[in-house]
Amino acid sequence: MKPARRHEPYLLLAPTLTLLTLFFLVPFLVAARESLFSWDLLTPRTYIGLSNYRTLWERGELGRAFRNTLAYSAVVVSGALLLGLALALLLDRKGQLAAFVRSAVFSAYVVSWVAVALLFMWLLDGEVGIVTRLAVAVGLPKKNWLGDADVALYTLAVVSIWKIAGYAMIVFLAGLQDIPPVLYEAAALDGAGPVLRFRSVTWPALRPSAAFVATTSLILSFQAFDVVRIMTQGGPAHATELFVYAIYEQIFLNLRVGRASALTLVFGVLVLSLTALQLRLLRGREAT
């Protein structure tokens, strides 16, 4: 409809668009500019062209952050998908027990990452953690879940799955609600067993939900920081250094603003392409 006065829409939008531009778009320009300088926040900065990018590439820091993030994300995404789906199928039923368990699982998604990270540090402590003690009690080898460079990244991934599985479950449950019961009845009449019913009715109907969970948890896992900062600080031997933590380390621990900015720019491009993918899926879901 026509605005009451011509300038009205611009006034209504001005605060939002100003803040969004200032805090979401301008930062990329600032990062692009800073990435061409060498600066430690204290002494005057010097222009060094693309050296920051070259250094990050040649010293393998960029590749390491990327590889770690990719490995972590692969485990988190597949874990969230599988566990979320299994939980949704298990708990898609009436009754107080199912409702209670649904709440319990989803509550982990609502509490702070800080609480979850600290709690699991205590549970998984290599000496006095109850998980370690229980594992030893049933005859499993004693593992240093967070101190072993081969294990730590996957420990972080499992903790993250524990936290976000409830979210995946909720999305799958919403998908299950949309399946008309007639379809199951028809399949049952055709003599389809549970496996065939899942393959021919449930899974096709849940594919959009699965795509949604996959992209969302991929984006979430690319942004992961809290678990790393609290549980491992990127160690041991950089084994758990995820992308965002690498940026944090460059600016706040190494005081290298230029390199942090260069990493930021690479990270921004990565995340934007991932989320653009998600937006396309979202649009597809709305259209159907």
Binding site: P9, L12, L20, E34
Partner: protein, 270 residues
Amino acid sequence: MKARLLVPSLVSLVVAAAWIGPYAWMVLTSLKTLPELLHDPTALLPKTWTLAAYREVWATVPMARYLLNTAVMAGLIAVLQIVLALPAGFALAKLDFAGRKTAFGLVLVCLLVPAQATFVPVFLMLGRVGLVNTLAALVLPFGASALGTFLVRQACLSIPDELIEAARLDGASDLHIVYRLLAPALRPTLVALFLLSFVFHWNDYFWPLVMTTDDRIRTVPVGIALLREQGTGVRWHLVMAGNVILSAPILAVFAIAQRHLVRAVATRGF
């Protein structure tokens, strides 16, 4: 028939244990004393149930200050987002003007940009104007919400034009229409937005960590995480007591508003 009902119930109980168990361990640990914890770290129950760990946390760190800071910050952000998203979402959904597509595109692009991709330059920008270590550094960057604007716009689409035109004929101003007519009509959306925003920023560790170093402006998640970093040896009963203080308010919100939160998360994505 009985087995078909029994098996899922048993598996459900195992699942419940996998999620409730860690919380239970957190609470039980927080009720123990340091000597008990050193003597037998995996004893199931505290020998003497005590709130000493909570008192010690309260005495060693300015917890009341942290709680106040966090509540003020999360509340301000949530309110500001709603106050700004309403007029913006209304304009994008209902009004014809040159540049509408561009403006909406800008909102969508910002929807894709996480704080982790902007914190370095925003830190530098805020540093230049002397705002690092202030409440403004915690609130302003989130004052406008691309997600909120998007959700309000979508919700506005279902409001009939006639309603707004009728109000205009009655002489209502734009601001009156936005805040007095639209706000009540969009209540479910605004409640969901407030809850998502408040819970997210109450829990947020990342932004307060990188934007503040000052104890006076510190928030609960940062303060609790520091409990583990400071101190001689890790006194887990204190850390777990802090964890309970951090999580209890959010779990209470969750218990009260679970339906809203679940629906918001299921439709929003994350």
